[in-house]
Amino acid sequence: MRYGIFVAALLVAPAVGVAQPPAGASEALEKVCGACHSVETVTGQRRTRAEWQESINAMVARGAEGTDAEFALILDYLTTQYGPTAAPAAPAAGRGGRGPAFSPGPADKQVVDEAAANRGRKVYAAECITCHGTHARGSERGADLVRSEIVLHDRYGSTLGPFLKKGHPTQTTPAAQLTGAQIVDLSHTIHQEVYNTLRAALQIQNVVTGDPQAGAAYFNGAGKCSTCHSAAGDMAHIASRMDAPELQQRFLFPGGRGGGRGRGGAATAAKPVMVTVTPASSAAIAGSAITGTLVHIDDFNVALRDGAGEYHSFKRTPALKVVKSDPAQAHHELLDQYTDRNIHDIVAYLETMK
């Protein structure tokens, strides 16, 4: 019977050509992302790979916890299933439904039309910029439009239009001179300025502000980086493999996912955490220490995969010796020692390794 169900499942698999979610990805999403927020928060959105990477980075910064493999799976999954061309998020079935939108703000929020916003920018420059400022954030002469409730309640000119037609206190030219189409364009422009203040709208500016020579001195001196790394060896051309923000994140948090706008693929993967488990002398495999890649550890169990690829799992007891070895331990310890000056100097030094 069980067999029959399995065959049926194969038969109903989607046809070739439909992007298949990577195996285990939805589980990883549920585990890593679902630990803090509902997964619909994520799947209600449509983003490019780079944008999803940015979201993941932001979440890691906010405390998301997972393995490198899990984050890689999640990125692949979100890119293939929730890319810009994916179907719009549909309301889930069921009594009452959950509604289509799970991102911040109203479900019927204005969708900015780029071309209209560009046209509106000309109207803005001619009619509004003097008092309301370059980015609509106001000045001594005019209100902050990004924070204006009239703007936030507006959809495609619905409140902006009547407001402008009525004329507002400091308006010098009659508002009626704006056509209906111009008001809609202007609405797109101003909403775009609002959206430009949301999370992930902006990027890191410039992190290369340090002194490369001081960075080299730290690398070879106090930081003891040269114990494991060398400019001519593993670090050769590192700056042509990733950009400066990623360089900064990589040496601070090796194995982290904070990689900035990396060029993908070329960066070396972090070395895995190793573990050596020594069973009690009375156990069946008495005394023979087993070393391998750490798969799982908590207060009660430990699991590893040995050099031959065999999986081993143990119940943790006082008699079971467990020794973890994190190749990035020295990096973690440096977090308590670096000054921000040291960090900027190291970035400047690494940037010389093109």
Binding site: G34, A61, A92, G97, G99, P106, A107, R199, Q249, G256
Partner: protein
């Protein structure tokens, strides 16, 4: 007096109908868990001891309720139950964004399920429901306070509590104090002012609103802002359920971070009353005192962690205390009648402060504010702790909190003079998590239990000499509150996502905890 008399008569009537007698809200929870924190104190300590250190290994799984497996539960990808259930007359009531369930507290069988049709809003989580008499109250992501009939989940009314167009949303578990339904607002996307409201339990009408930021120059706290425009957009959301002292008649409201969140250039000053613990009169909404946990925060370290109320002795003097393990890594003890600071201490090692001022508030180091080229800061944006509820155990005199020691780099993305919204953020990180047991008299960490694989859950302590917590591997763990040694565990397949609760029905003590979309009921069945 007339009001009180009417209230008592009303209470008796409510009791007769089989709903929740509001008087129960002030008592230690035993056969009920009638409010978000179990009682008004926020201690999350239970006097029950049928489940205890000597028999914990006999604790067994009694039932499982999978919210997403339920009809209408949404299907597919699940939400997460971050609500602390309330339990009244043998029925558990809990929420997820847009949803409320009633399930049998003895068997986990569904009694009813209510689904709200959403108009949007951030669906990041919902902390639970409030109960008054025969009525239940919960907030929706699209800014409504909804009242349901306890017995069948039918909607009585809904009232707007915020403006979705301003990107506010609802997530807090409402607090019931006398004839007040206290509601808070969430949202940190656009720069809006935070506030807390009180509503009439019968009609939902507004009784009062208190803004967490001053509304005009000259108002108390306005001296800590550069302009009216800055403070009226200064944030301070009220994400978390307050605690309440009936004797002093004060609610203790923890407030959110100032806005713009990370890029604070255009809001120089301490930015009162954001990132603070504020005492309000629940009848009028008038402020009694405040204490600021994070003056001029630029790291998204709200102070929306539970202000826990207990009585204790400090320097030989008996005091009514309020304690908070704040997101910025500091533990504070205050006199809850006056707000006077009695202790401020780091409960995890931090790197952003230059010490504390005369009032006990930390002094932020400007060099550790977000920078264009990055500043390495600890804790990270997630904080030394976050919303998951801590617990105070009067038997040990220790305050327990799920803590994190983490680093990240804080950047300014928008170097202009008036950054708005998210003109910066933090990125990357490394950290470790642990349970910290804090001696409230000194603020010193008495013991620390580090988790191997992360983990950050709500906590519960009991008279059975047990401390319940979740680790990062999906284990529900009972620890010895005296020293942090794990005594028992059960793997739930997903990490604990709420604060565990306990109650006794028909002589059986239950322990209920959520992990992901599933509620687990454990019991001592022998």
């Amino acid at each position: 007096m007339k009001t009180l008399g009417t209230f008592l008569i009303a209470s008796a009537a409510l009791m007769a109908q089989g709903g929740l007698n509001p008087a129960r809200l002030g008592a230690p929870p035993t056969d009920t868990w009638p409010t978000y924190n179990g009682d008004y104190s926020g201690r999350r300590y239970s006097t029950l001891s049928k489940i205890n250190q000597s028999n914990i290994n006999s604790l067994t799984l009694a039932w499982v309720y999978r919210a997403n497996g339920a009809p209408g539960g949404g299907g597919g990808f699940g939400g997460r139950i971050s609500a602390t259930p309330v339990e009244v007359n043998g029925v558990l009531y809990f929420t997820m964004p847009d949803h409320t369930w009633a399930v049998d507290a003895r068997t986990g069988r569904e009694v009813w399920h209510y689904a709200w049709t959403s108009h949007g809003g951030d669906h990041i989580g919902n902390r639970g429901a409030g109960v008054y008499g025969n009525w239940l109250y919960f907030e929706t992501p699209d800014c409504n306070l909804v009242s349901l009939n306890l017995k069948d989940g039918k909607e009585r009314w809904h009232k707007p509590i915020c403006d979705l167009d301003q990107y506010y949303f609802g997530s807090m578990a409402p607090l019931v104090v006398k004839n007040h339904i206290i509601t808070g607002v969430s949202g940190d996307d656009l720069d809006r002012p935070g506030y807390i409201e009180s509503h009439d339990p019968e009609t939902g009408d507004l009784q009062w609103r208190w803004y967490t930021v001053p509304q005009k120059m000259g108002d108390a706290g306005s001296e800590s802002w550069p302009s009216e425009e800055a403070m009226k957009h200064g944030g301070g959301m009220t994400w978390l359920t307050p605690t309440y002292d009936p004797e002093l008649n004060m609610i203790y409201v923890p407030t959110g971070n100032p806005q713009p969140v990370i890029a604070g250039k255009a809001r120089p000053g301490a930015n009162l009353f954001t990132a603070s613990v504020v005492a309000l009169n629940p009848d009028t909404g008038k402020m009694q005192w405040y204490f600021q946990s994070s003056p001029h925060d630029t790291h998204d370290w709200d102070a929306t962690q539970t202000p826990v109320l207990f009585d204790g002795e400090i320097n030989g003097q008996k005091r009514k205390l309020v304690a908070q393990a704040s997101r910025n890594g500091y533990f504070f003890v205050l006199d809850r009648a006056t707000g006077k600071n009695l202790a401020s201490a780091e409960y995890v090692k931090i790197n952003w402060s230059k010490g504390v001022d005369a009032k006990g508030s930390p002094i932020p180091n400007p060099a550790k504010e977000p920078q264009l080229d990055g500043a390495l800061v600890s804790p990270n944006q997630g904080g030394g702790t976050n919303w998951p509820p801590p617990t105070y155990d009067p038997d040990t005199g220790l305050f327990y909190v799920s803590a994190s020691r983490a680093f990240s780099v804080y950047y300014i993305y928008d170097p202009s003079d008036k950054p708005e919204g998210w003109g910066g953020n933090d990125r990357g990180g490394w950290g470790e998590t642990m349970i910290q047991a804090i001696d409230y008299k000194t603020g010193k960490v008495k013991w620390s239990h580090k988790w191997e694989d992360g983990g950050r859950s709500g906590l519960l302590s009991t008279a059975g000499k047990l401390l319940f917590a979740g680790d990062g591997s999906g284990n529900l763990v009972a620890l010895d509150p005296a020293n942090g040694n794990p005594l028992w565990h059960a793997n739930l397949g997903s990490s604990v996502t709420n604060g565990p609760i306990t109650y006794e029905l028909d002589g059986t003590q239950y322990l209920v905890v959520a992990a992901g979309d599933t509620l687990f009921g454990f019991a001592m069945l022998r």
